[in-house]
Amino acid sequence: MANNQNPWGSSNQTPPELDQVIKDFKNKFNAVFGGGSSGKSSSARGGIKYLIILAILVWLLSGIYIVDPAERGVVLRFGAFQEVTSQGPHWRLPYPIEQVYKVNVERIRAAEIGFRNIQNSSYGGNVSSESLMLTKDENMVDVNLAVQYKVADVKAYLFNVLMPELTLSHVVQSVIRQVVGDNTMDYVLTTGREQVAQDVKTGSQALLNLYQTGLLITAVTMQDAQPPIQVKAAFDDVVKAREDQQRYINEANAYANDILPKARGASQRILAEAQAYRSQVISKSDGESERFRLILGEYLKAPEVTRERLYRETLEEVLSKSNKVIIDSSTNALMYLPIDQLINSSRSTTSSTSRQSNYPSQSSQSFQSNSGTSILRSREVLR
């Protein structure tokens, strides 16, 4: 190569052959560009020799190729498979003899069935025709699949099948329909999603192996599984109905949770009140009977006087507080007493609460009576 960079710098160190070549080249150069002075034929021959050597060198160098870490190089000699080379620089016999194809074996490629994310118009068929499929129970579902794959066997990938990617697409389309056709709609749409994707993966891989495509499916994911757009509203309504169902139940539970503790509280209150009542009446009876016993003791000591005294005191107390009408029954004259008016006039001036202040309402009930009967009673008593 040094002679290319500095062809005129001849020195003793240069090998004689190379020196000769340079000289020849110089002569040739002069012969061609140096005004057409006739050069020797031997130097012209040498020029051709040099050119041929150069051409051969360049030709040989064109056999150098570099394989990326993610790639494999496949070398063909006269069209026949020779070897697979991995990463790094390599040399092959140049063009007409050997050829090299480089294939990326690490890159995850993606195929989309039923939808298109990536611009990929290499195969036809509109999208809904890919995604709509029949289920076992003769319903239709709209399924979108994303398939990830890579090249596992470079040789098979290159030589076995015409258009391996198209084959993959066909295979997956066929298998997904078969799997969906073997299952019910509810299964595909809900619980079976994972399983369907898994079945598609294994089924598709089996076919790809059968066709020896050299492709390996790394993942199949169900992007979307939906009922067809025409019945989507009805399906959404079912989802809503399911929510409604839960809501009804929740509301009922809320109601139950509301009333039950309250009922428990209320029953505790009833019990507590009853216990209070029990204590109350027992205490009251204790007190009252004790009081009676004590009075009785004194009464027995002087019955007549005590009796008289008690009677007088009581009547005094009673009569001192109330309005009184004293009628001599010996006169047989009929009298008119405007009792209603008397009652009304006295009612309006007194507060009704005064009557109930003495005793708690429950026990005093038996003692309470309206004023009409009390009048009658008083008359009875006093007679």
């Binding site: 030589f159 076995n160 139950a256 009876s285 009785l296 009581t314 009569l319 004293i326 029954s329």
Partner: protein, 288 residues
């Protein structure tokens, strides 16, 4: 010398042309047939560099890879006379190059065309024997197998083609059938929605009724218990009273009456109509 040069310059290209036209390569993806003036001399199955006699031999190449016949979707009638649209594909490769060359003239397109015809016929026969459900679900595999066997027989003997696989890509209902399917799906879903809502109501009703029952029971039990407790109280107090009062029943009656008067009579507003003949007025009226 110059003459030699000129001769060389002329000769080299001629030699080159001769050599290059007597060599040919068969690629890894190809098989070839060598013809001598239209007559088959040899079949090259192995890839590599091959020789031929220039001008006398010519070579026809064939793609040896697996080919795909992607059929045009076509409508078939099922046994219940419903139209389904079927899309399938056939994977095939050239097995007998000579046979293939003779029958198709080496054209993949014409091979595809003939295969497609046979494929459609076989599928039509299979579909006409089955219901939609069988076609879609249970017997799909069987159909594909049958069509494959049928195609294999024809393709191998007539076209020198090896059938790798026949698969149904999609089975679709015709538009009018599809609409009725949609309608059915919709009604099915509506039914399901109603069922779910009613079940929700049922469950809710159940929960509410149960809660109310619990409440009633709780309260009733509490009431029963409370009545017992009150009864206990009443009994105890009655016992107390009885013990005390039975010591002197007559005095009790007197004492209790006085108590009653005090409590029931003599509040403000009461009006007492009194007879002066009563005991209380003994001294009030000196006549007595």
């Amino acid at each position: 010398m110059k003459k030699i040069n000129i001769i060389l310059i002329v000769l080299i290209p001629i030699i080159f042309i001769l050599v290059s036209s007597s060599l040919y390569t068969v690629n890894e993806t190809q098989v070839a047939i060598k013809l001598r003036l239209g007559e088959i001399v040899s079949i090259e199955l192995e890839p590599g560099l091959k020789f031929k006699t220039p001008f006398v031999n010519n070579v026809v190449f064939f793609d040896s890879r697996i080919q795909t016949l992607d059929s045009v979707p076509e409508a078939f009638l099922t046994v219940e006379k419903k139209n389904v649209i079927v899309d399938s594909y056939v994977k095939w490769r050239i097995m007998d190059v000579e046979q293939f060359y003779l029958s198709t003239g080496g054209s993949l397109a014409s091979a595809n065309l003939r295969l497609a015809q046979n494929n459609q016929d076989a599928l039509r026969i299979e579909f006409s024997k089955r219901t939609i459900n069988e076609v879609v679900s249970s017997q799909r595999e069987e159909i594909m197998k049958n069509v494959k066997t049928k195609l294999e027989k024809i393709a191998e003997s007539e076209y020198g083609i090896e059938i790798w696989d026949v698969r149904i890509k999609r089975i679709e209902l015709a538009q009018e059938v599809r609409n009725s399917v949609y309608l059915r799906m919709e009604t099915e879903r509506n039914g399901l929605a109603n069922k779910l809502r009613s079940e929700g109501s049922e469950e809710a009703e159940k929960i509410q009724a149960f809660a109310e029952k619990e409440r009633t029971i709780l309260l009733a039990n509490a009431y029963s218990e409370s009545e017992k407790i009150r009864g206990e109280g009443d009994a105890k107090s009655a016992n107390n009273y009885a013990k005390a009062y039975s010591q002197d029943a007559e005095f009790y009656s007197f004492h209790r009456s006085l108590e009653s008067y005090r409590k029931s009579i003599g509040y403000q507003g009461d009006i007492l109509v009194l007879n002066p003949d009563s005991e209380f007025f003994r001294h009030f009226n000196p006549k007595n």
